[in-house]
Symmetry: C2
DNA sequence: TACCATGTTGATTCATTTAGTCGACAATAT
DNA sequence: ATATTGTCGACTAAATGAATCAACATGGTA
């Protein structure tokens, strides 16, 4: 149940793009440098986002990628689906026909509840919200400067 | 973000055990046959559940596995954690120290929300509930017999 | 026009994980 | 004793993940 680097790097790249978007497109090179992702790998991560019409790309000098929709309209669910494929934790939730136990398996219900729970979070989060969160974090990080640096990690989740 | 066969087979095996538990232990061979899991593979799946003291095993003739706790006290979260390891979709949620962006990364918040959402479902589901659900499904499947067999698949999730 | 900066695509590599098998062994009932 | 069952570690094969690279397409700029 782990996210691959596609999901992790891809979302970070998209957030980075949103944070650095003015009018002109943002070169992959810049995103790669800021996010510490290798450029040739990032190119592959970006492809499905272009195909999914979340961003568009412009070749040539001063080229790069830019958002096709305003950040409030970009939901994380859509992004993750493009980067990672289906969100469902098991296949049979999506394709009931491949499971011989279809309709008589109590586990499938639970797997689908998990799918819905995950979708709920992703559906309810827009790129705009991520941008705001990120800006806020960086601002409060600057205000922090002196003193107890370690105070950031307030509460650690006990749970896995 | 897919569950491996460990999680899928393991939970099915445990549910099968709960459904077929009387006083005597249930041989792995029977579970393997009913659930269509290869016996040598099932042996490996069962190991962490024994280690986690959810079930115990008895060797020798008439041996097998049996539940160590009553089904109402066995939460799916515990089972999945034993079978699949941490539920968190990314490592940095559990070990913030391995992430250079710790405390200043908006994505981490989201990944943790997802972890919580998944935990919520798993924490809130006991083996007893699964048993009841499963019995109910099988009962209604028997009452079905004649007529429109296909009526089972009422609503199909559009969403991934 | 020539050239440089950029994105596109497919092939390829390498490491890791997953899924599964097998054999030797330990324990228990009959 | 012996048949039956679980335990454990080694092993293998296939799939996936994480990249890298080269050849190409395209758009600015001198």
């Amino acid at each position: 149940m782990k996210l691959s680097t596609r999901g992790r790097y891809g979302t970070r790249a998209l957030l980075d793009l949103a944070l650095h978007s003015d009018e002109s497109p943002v070169p992959l090179k810049d995103i790669a440098r800021r996010q510490q992702i290798s450029l040739p790998y990032l190119e592959h991560l970006v492809t499905p986002l272009v195909a999914g019409e979340i961003i568009r790309s412009i070749r040539g000098a001063h080229g790069g990628i830019s958002l096709l929709k305003s950040p409030e309209k970009i939901r994380l669910s859509e992004v993750i689906r493009l980067l990672e494929g289906s969100i469902a934790p098991v296949e049979c939730v999506i394709h009931p026909d491949i499971c011989p136990r279809v309709g008589s398996c109590a586990m499938c219900d639970i797997w689908d509840e998990i799918r819905k729970a995950i979708c709920g979070v992703l559906e309810g989060t827009t790129l705009q919200e991520l941008v705001e969160r990120q800006r806020q974090k960086e601002a409060s990080r600057n205000g922090e400067t002196l003193g107890s640096e370690g105070a950031v990690r307030a509460e650690q989740p006990k749970d896995t």
